[in-house]
Symmetry: C2
Subunit: 329 residues, 2 copies
């Protein structure tokens, strides 16, 4: 394991110190591990709070700022934050118009955010939750689909709607519509290595890939030989469109996302291949975002997220934002 | 070699197709490999043109747009673009106020941009050049210091000054001052693999790092054992400050840059370590940018760039920009 760290146990805290140093617009509560906006919104607005295990940066800490999240609570690597930290994030973020929890569908996150919501309600906070479950690789699990790239689309669109002064129920309803319109699928060329264990989540031969992998190194649908990007993209596009083809009025938002160790030039090669395969299906993206936004430590590979956006979602996607990882002028 | 590509020979062209698909604000001339703004500036302004070998993305193609470059010409992987392509970029970009070439100090780039400048002058274009040579790892080479991270600072500050309507000579002079105020140094945990050769630029043992590495896998000052991020950062900070300590009136701009395969969480760990070491030297960054901006294919590691900025440079650093890789609201 070769990593730029001090010790496996200090990675999350050290990274938060670096985040705070680089982004004075963020307030970082190091003790409770809560990242919030240094300058609160002018008046009451619905507060967006998200979080989950660390190791997926910039998700979620890099999306705190005007137009997106009000607070994020990062857990240990690949481990949900405990309920009291989530509660602390809700307290830091609530400006009087209620709090929306954006939760990725993993057992620990679902449980801890639910407990935090109960604790927050006891303290008089109004809390609603959007559960993100966009990963079509998992089909028959009792826990349902995993939450991955669609989280970014929910952060961006719901964040913009909250900024416009919409009510909590309205923002939650948009979030659920975005989730329903979103599907994702990922391919890994190499698993990430959790510094706590020092070993990759799984081993692949020099010519093997994991198709349908999760962002914590969860195994996928199958193991295959590495193929040219055009063929891989076709597999991934077909999986994402299966059973969720955008309608004639939809204006798809496409996210070509790197898993952490894949350089941008390869993501652009994948983007070209994805765009071409979508065209073969008659699907024309309205917007395409390319970069590493939902990562899996130093895993190599990519995920594709497609949101069959309506006009409102697209307008909110384009709205101003000012966060470490996503800025819209 | 595991990469998301179609074939080694098509990487640059495929990536340009993806770039064009994701960024409709860019015009891509696929035949001549010139990336320029789809919408030209309203009136004549100094045009910024840069380029160099591919494999360093988002440099330079990701910095084309309002507030930064007017055009970029990407060469083959790690290979300078030929003079006629650079000329084509200058032609595409010149709006009547002259063209500033921003050139990294490598033999091929220097030669080809010089030839292109001569060709452009013959056609009536006014051309000036800023040569970027910030990498202090190279001390005694006849070719001088290599150009790396400072290129981003030159793109951003000169781009903003050009946007304000400054004259060619004024923008060139600023660029030279930024270069003179900038120093960089890089450490690699793994070399990048050029798909044309299929082998990494050099081999490192599981516990080895290359200290003072170049962005084309050029060897550094020495090979060392991997150490904790705090110690590595101290080495790098000390190298960057050696002989170029910011003066009392300077407001340092710091770039903590990933080499391509290093995930953001590690870069934030490095950022914390760099900030702490700078504090020990009495240096307080005015701005810190963290991310992978000047890469070396899928090399793992980081570089540090420090620009001892004056008030004008800082103001220009903060000015609006709207490019694929850097947006300022």
């Amino acid at each position: 394991m070769k990593k730029l760290i001090n010790s496996p146990g200090s990675v999350v805290d050290d990274a938060l110190v670096g985040l705070a140093a680089a982004h004075p617009a963020l307030a970082v509560d190091f003790e409770r591990r809560v990242v919030s906006r240094a300058v609160c919104p002018a008046g009451p607005k619905v507060a967006l709070v998200s979080g989950g295990g660390s190791g997926h940066e910039p998700l979620h800490i890099g999306f705190v700022g005007p137009g997106m999240l009000d607070a994020a609570c990062p857990g240990e690597l690949f481990t949900s934050p405990p309920p009291d930290r989530i509660l602390a994030a809700a307290q830091a973020a609530d400006s009087g118009a209620g709090v929306l929890f954006v939760v990725k569908n993993y057992t620990g996150d679902v449980l801890n955010f639910r407990l935090a919501a109960e604790l927050a309600a006891e303290q008089g906070h109004r809390v609603a939750t959007v559960l993100v479950d966009d990963d079509v690789a998992v089909r028959d699990s009792a826990a349902g689909r995993r939450g991955t790239g669609a989280t970014v689309v929910v952060h961006k669109t719901c964040g913009a709607l909250a900024e416009r002064g919409a009510a909590l129920e309205e923002v939650r309803e948009l979030g659920e519509r975005v989730v329903a319109a979103s599907r994702s699928f990922a391919v890994a060329l190499a698993a990430g290595t959790n510094p706590e264990t020092g070993r990759p989540g799984f081993d692949l031969a020099e010519d093997e890939i994991e198709v349908g992998v999760g962002i914590h190194g969860e195994p996928g649908r199958r193991r295959e030989r590495l193929r040219p990007a055009n063929e891989l993209a076709a597999t991934v596009v077909d999986a994402v469109l299966e059973g969720n083809r955008p309608g004639p009025g939809d204006r798809p938002i496409v996210l070509v996302n790197g898993l952490g160790a894949t350089p941008l030039i390869e993501l652009y090669v994948v983007c070209a291949a994805v765009t071409a395969r979508l065209a073969e299906h008659g699907v024309t993206p309205a917007r395409t975002l390319v970069g590493s936004y939902v990562t899996s430590l130093d895993a190599a590979g990519f995920s594709l997220t497609l949101t069959a956006a309506d006009r409102l979602m697209l307008e909110l996607w384009d709205a101003p934002a000012d966060t470490p990882a996503l800025v819209r002028a």
